[in-house]
């Protein structure tokens, strides 16, 4: 049966909402296929506003890979703001895709990419607007299979009631495999499809597992399969040889303004720096580099296709690419004099990075440099394994100011394990030293340093998964003291900007990150009371989360603190123990103990393997250069 566009009905509503352009699609690079000429249809969702969701690389990659398959159709859907949500409910307009404005409820699969757990309430809005029952157990063959992916899928227990399945790890091959299963076995019905998904070993179907709890302590006793198709451990997928996956080939270019007005090329995936707070670095191992030539082609094709003015060379720590120096120089040569900007997000504090940044900004756009020391004191940096000395930092930023940079941004976290007031107050001292050294190096006073501070959230599959999350009152008090300390020296303080948010959203993110299935009732209660867009401070309500949290968890004999500010014991069963990121749990525990002892851990790219467990258990290995080759020259006419 064909499915018609909801656009005529939507069009009547759009003049009444803010920024209607975000709902019309029509992006460069978008694909619209005939519904009837396809056999498997995916709706891909990023559960946040269009401006945040559109640039998401994961969705863009899967969208293109799926649409390259002739009988497969993939369209995108994003969260609608409450103004449109209200009108859609009033006029009976369902959740729609932006490509052909088809109702999401008509698709075979709804894939939702979670970069952050704060998108969970938005998932419920989308399901409800789509006419899909919120609870997976209430769905029938007429409803799409709701599949979670992205980093948050490494502990999908809090949304176990709402999703049919979760895919662990890289999605490129997983979506192709799931598509094949749906194509061949659609007629067998929902339950059979999910059993086939589960049998792949990489797809977690929460309904096929039972979670048991210890009545006395409220702790999880275990999560065990309840049928043969479900494996005891679900393992992540790893896409090897990125050069075989040069996506997105045609980056989507939105009409609306988005958070990234540039195209991105992923230069490598994975990171083994071993920062202990970083979930991304832990769950995406091993490092897999894209080759210089592969990057060169993607940059060239992407710019030609998109008309973008800037390219971001994306990864978790871009300056660590084994040929980053050559890459920067060759790209700068290629685009010299064309007003094409090149940027390197996520750089570590390292003098070498200033040379890189200089190379990438030959055209003269030198605004600001960003570094992430993450911790204010040398001691806390050892705890989190972010090895950088203050001398190195000062040397690095001095070089930057001397070479014409005027603004340096430093990122920190507050609420880290073992942290004291003193560790945080040292951020002020570091910033003052940066300004002192910078003024001397630049020979002028109008330089600035901005310190930006986020609350630390312990995440699953990291050495800090056992840690007690810091109470938001303590975080807020420390940040207040830091503010006073920064302002104490007026002459230096006025060159220092400070940006931070209060610690409350972090606590809720913590609840959703390390929660188990019992947290699902909290999410649903918050959503029913109007919770939406929890990543946006104008919508986030701490009071509502805490109230619903206490009410929904009380029958189970636990509370919000149980999941957040409580330290876990070594022998405790964790809600994600049956989900395998490849990391050996014993290694994670040892690394946690090393953190408490302020012991650092090297990077396995340059030192011997330290047995984190990923490569042998996943059958993978580090893929990195140098290749010693050069970019393919673009032939001048």
């Amino acid at each position: 049966m064909s499915v018609s566009s909801v656009y005529p009905a939507l069009e009547e509503l759009l003049p009444r909402v803010s920024k209607p352009v975000q709902y019309i699609g029509s992006e460069l690079g978008a694909t619209v296929k005939e519904w009837d000429s396809t056999t498997v249809r995916w709706a891909l969702m990023y559960p946040d506003a269009y401006e945040v969701g559109l640039p998401n690389q994961g969705v863009m990659i899967l969208y293109e890979i799926l649409n390259e398959i002739p009988d497969v159709l993939a369209e995108r859907t994003y969260s609608v703001w409450p103004d449109l949500e209200e009108l859609m409910r009033e006029h009976g307009v369902p959740q729609f895709t932006v490509d052909a404005h088809r109702p999401v409820g008509a698709f075979d699969l709804l894939g939702v990419s979670f970069a952050t757990e704060l998108g969970y309430t938005n998932l419920l809005t989308a399901l409800d607007l789509a006419g899909i029952p919120l609870h997976a157990e209430d769905r029938d063959d007429s409803h799409p299979l709701v599949i979670a992916g992205g980093h948050a899928a490494f502990n999908p227990e809090p949304i176990a009631d709402f999703v049919d399945a979760a895919v662990l790890g890289d999605g490129e091959e997983a979506v192709i495999e799931l598509t094949a299963i749906v194509r061949d076995h659609k007629h067998e019905g929902r339950e059979a499809l999910l059993e086939r998904f589960a049998a792949t070993g990489n797809v977690y179907v929460p309904r096929f597992y039972e979670a048991g709890y210890d009545q006395e302590t409220g702790r999880l006793a275990g999560t065990t399969p309840n049928r043969a198709a479900a494996p005891e451990q679900v393992s992540k997928r790893t896409t090897m040889d990125l050069d075989q996956w040069p996506y997105p080939r045609k980056p989507l270019v939105p009409l609306a303004e988005s958070v990234h007005e540039r195209m991105s090329v992923e230069i490598f995936r994975g990171c083994t720096r071993g920062c202990r707070f970083c979930q991304a670095g832990m769950i995406t191992r091993p490092v897999r580099e894209r080759s210089l030539q592969g990057i060169g082609e993607m940059v060239d094709n992407g710019l030609k296709h998109s008309g973008f003015e800037e390219v971001g060379l994306l990864s978790l720590s871009s300056a660590d690419h084994s040929e980053i120096g050559d890459l920067a120089k060759q790209l700068a040569d290629r685009y010299e004099g064309t007003n094409t900007g090149l940027s390197l997000p996520s750089t570590r504090v390292d003098a070498f990075n200033i040379d890189l940044a200089n190379e990438l900004t030959r055209n003269g756009r030198r605004s600001g440099l960003t570094f992430a020391p993450e911790g204010g004191s040398e001691r806390i940096r050892k705890v989190i394994n972010k090895t950088v000395s203050e001398e190195d930092l000062i040397r690095t930023v001095s070089a930057a100011y001397a070479q014409g940079w005027r603004q340096v941004k430093l990122y920190f976290m507050c609420g880290l394990p073992t942290e004291t007031d003193e560790d945080v107050l040292q951020i002020a001292e570091m910033a003052r030293n940066v300004i002192r050294a910078g003024r001397e190096a630049a020979g002028r006073k109008d330089i600035r340093c901005t310190i930006s501070i986020g609350g630390f959230v312990p995440k699953p599959h990291t050495p800090f998964q056992w840690a007690a999350q810091c109470d938001p009152d303590i975080v807020d008090a420390r940040l207040k003291k830091l503010r006073t300390e920064v302002n104490a020296d007026r002459s230096l303080g006025r060159s220092i900007g400070m940006r931070y948010h209060d610690g409350k959203p972090s606590l809720i993110e913590g609840l959703l990150s390390r929660g188990d299935r019992r947290v699902g009732a909290v999410i649903e209660a918050v959503w029913r009371e109007g919770g939406r867009f929890d990543g946006w401070h104008e919508y986030f309500s701490y009071e509502r989360w805490m109230r619903c949290g206490d009410e929904a968890l009380r029958p189970h004999g636990v509370d919000v603190a149980f999941f957040t500010t409580r330290e876990r014991a070594e022998d405790e069963v964790l809600p994600w123990d049956h989900l395998d990121s490849g990391l050996d749990k014993q290694w994670l525990w040892d690394d946690w103990c090393d953190a408490l002892d302020e012991q650092e851990q090297d990077d396995c790219r340059w030192t011997p393997c330290f047995d984190c467990g990923v490569c042998p258990s996943m059958g993978t290995e580090i893929e990195m250069g140098p290749t010693g080759r050069t970019l393919l020259p673009i032939t001048p006419v």
Binding site: Y23, I24, L255, N339
Partner: protein, 267 residues
Amino acid sequence: MADDRPNPSAPTACKLWLRYAKRGKLRFASHRDIARLFERAVRKAELPIAYSQGFSPHPKLSWIGAAPTGTASEAEYVEIGLTESVEPDSIAERLGSALPGDVAVLQVVTAGEGALADRMLASRWRITVPVPDDASLEDAVAALLDAEEVIVPRRTKSGLKDIDVRHACVSIKVEPVSESFPQVSGHVAKQPPGEGVPKAPGYGILEVVVRQMTPTVRPDDVLRALHVVTGHEWFGGPAKASRIAQGPLDDAGQLVDPLVGDRMSST
């Protein structure tokens, strides 16, 4: 080695005036969205675009009174600065293929004398209004034209401002619905010709020539003025507007093509 890449630091050697349309879903694009779209299209088309000087150079695109977000237009104008002389017709083709289908380059001429904005003294808008019948619409138009002034409050950057819509209206008339003319997007969906489809609520078409004033009187201001003089709620319903033309007014109060003289001199 020959290098034919655009040289962004070169001075402006040639100015073009360009008329384009925004249609369909793209009526919901704001002026800033359209501006970004053109900047990217210019790069994609590898036009020898001139850049402003300074720390953060911008491509030289000068916009003339953009149609408001939510309205379509067949008569938008932009001036483009290039670093070398280019045949205007080739620009239409190159730029057109780099823009989405709902943005159409309609006309390109070498810039004429004076500022293009100075020629834009009035706009002709076609506005589709959900009304019970044409007679009601005729009555409303007559009421508006009979009034000495019709004041409508408008939110501007400096707060609420009273604007006199009656003064801005050069002419306003009801067009027969059946007439085929450049269609405002979405009509087809609203009035399906097929059998068995329930008839959508009626609508009428207004054609209004609005004088350029500060602040600009927009189609929704005209509708609000009609609401003020009649009290009819349907002027607050889902209307659609499209700018059909923009340009100088002749002595008879008729809109004239602003590029007519330049087109002749450029060919």
